[in-house]
Subunit: 368 residues, 2 copies
Amino acid sequence: MIVETRVVQFDSLTLDSGIVLTPVDVAYETYGELNPRKTNAILVVHAFTGDSHAAGIHEESGKPGWWDNMIGPGKAFDTNQYFVICTNVLGGCRGTTGPSSIDPASGKPYAMNFPMITISDMVRLQKRLVEHLGIQRLLAVAGGSMGGMQVLEWAVRYPDAVAAAFPIATTARHSAQQIAFNEVGRQAIMADPDWNGGDYYGTKPPARGLSVARMVGHITYMSDESMKEKFGRRFRNREASAFTFDDEFEVESYLRYRGSQFVDRFDANSYLYITKAMDIFDLAQGFHSLPQALEQAKARFLVISFTSDWLYPSYQSLEMVSALRSRGGDVAYCELSSNYGHDAFLVEVGEQTELIRGFLKRVYKEAA
Amino acid sequence: MIVETRVVQFDSLTLDSGIVLTPVDVAYETYGELNPRKTNAILVVHAFTGDSHAAGIHEESGKPGWWDNMIGPGKAFDTNQYFVICTNVLGGCRGTTGPSSIDPASGKPYAMNFPMITISDMVRLQKRLVEHLGIQRLLAVAGGSMGGMQVLEWAVRYPDAVAAAFPIATTARHSAQQIAFNEVGRQAIMADPDWNGGDYYGTKPPARGLSVARMVGHITYMSDESMKEKFGRRFRNREASAFTFDDEFEVESYLRYRGSQFVDRFDANSYLYITKAMDIFDLAQGFHSLPQALEQAKARFLVISFTSDWLYPSYQSLEMVSALRSRGGDVAYCELSSNYGHDAFLVEVGEQTELIRGFLKRVYKEAA
């Protein structure tokens, strides 16, 4: 399945802040065919550093999508039956308008003049794309981590446009610890002199700071157990009998490698804006409580969390599930057993496939 | 209790690496009185960023010691009965020789020419001080976190010199995750251009990098629960109705404050050397197994861990306890209930006091 990324431009988008962004590009990919009644569309929303390339092999990069193990013919999101859409989020750096985009007012990249964005702004833009594609109601919205926050936002803000919602390994709001880890990443970037107040386009990006930020992220995406299995205490380069300062554990070189790799594909200012959007996200904001917020939703929910995910622990999923149930919401909850930590939503395909396939089948039949 | 820090100099110390360090200063404090038979001495060993000021009010700074709630008249380590010693570790920056000390060969600070040090080197130097004070056998060695590693090393390397060992909130070796967090701190420091290959003495220290490193540390010292209780999602400075990029959560400003504070009292190169010493520490090294290593010890052990400590989780304490028991070692183990995470060993005084007081009383009676 060779796929291409397309970009659509909208004249403007009004943000939560009241600021109007003009124009706005949205990068997106689609997989499968939209049926004539347009009832088989599924929106897949990506996590923090993801992009619109969710499935198939990209025609340019030759790389598989980030959820290719879940989207395709015969897979959980079966493209023989469903039409799957994925967009790069607002504020991103992979084709959708973000801090690295040209500000028409100045003719230069926005950098830190980019307006504050929210999860709700991201979803508002996705809604525009979905309407642009002629779709009134999505069969499902699905995503993990920050993707899950967007799923929740979709279900609450556009209750008539979502038949099924799959928030995976996510939360209705960040805890102090989650905010703290994001803040360390932001500080690492801003501590790098090359960040230069965000004004580094065309010169040297803050590669060292961004790399450190990514290293912290990677630790939180794995579990103690999965790091033990993958690296243990193995040294990469130890030869002498006495230790030297250069003796390097495999886990150290792995993290450094992943950190430096990240710099090539991600914009530091996008890192700042998107993590901030995650941190200020609170589904209950504007409502009296989380149950009241979730009461707006009309979708059937399938909530999934993973036992070893300590970044988005199961208690946060349970909080949503309880809130939904307290208002008579239609919700199934599964805590899947996994050693992979937060990364599990990307790699634990087996059980997720069964759950999602069955759930979609039922919702599609009811909607038909 | 007004206390002063003293420094003793030894001509040389041979390190595990074979390198001979000349001369070596050791900063230390003592509390209480050594009895005539010299059988009431307790060595308290500090965690990563601690120093020799463990108790009382320092005559210069006016500050209480880091374990002042545990050491003093009538406290867990009762200075009416016991003579308590605390030293700054080798490689440190609070009076004991470390990377910021003058290298006699060059007349300049060692910086990254400082030799690699190990937990065993730290303990060897402590042994020298203890002998210098005329003490052949310590009633107890006690410490948490990296202090606990030193306790283990003491018990195994100098079995006849330790009657009781209290390794608290610690491990016999770091996991991949623990190494990973330390490596992030090291990379944050080395990414700061002001680090300058370690050669920053007399100029600007790598304050931004060291501050980021400390922020990561602080997150790992607290628990998800204690961060929730202390900060929640409270904003520090939010006024406008719409979010701006400068809206700051309390947890963010707290971490930044703690990070910047740390720079004033800690040396970045010491951060590198000491974290590396922790990471390469493996009590079983040179033995066939952990049980074989711990079989060398003759001390009675009291092992303590805390339920919410995810940095040094209880399973690591249980590993030591099992190893000791498998070889008929004398070991009591308590997992104390606490929300404070790894910090618990510094703040959960109540139960620790009861446990340690009772244990010391018994050991002191037997030794008398």
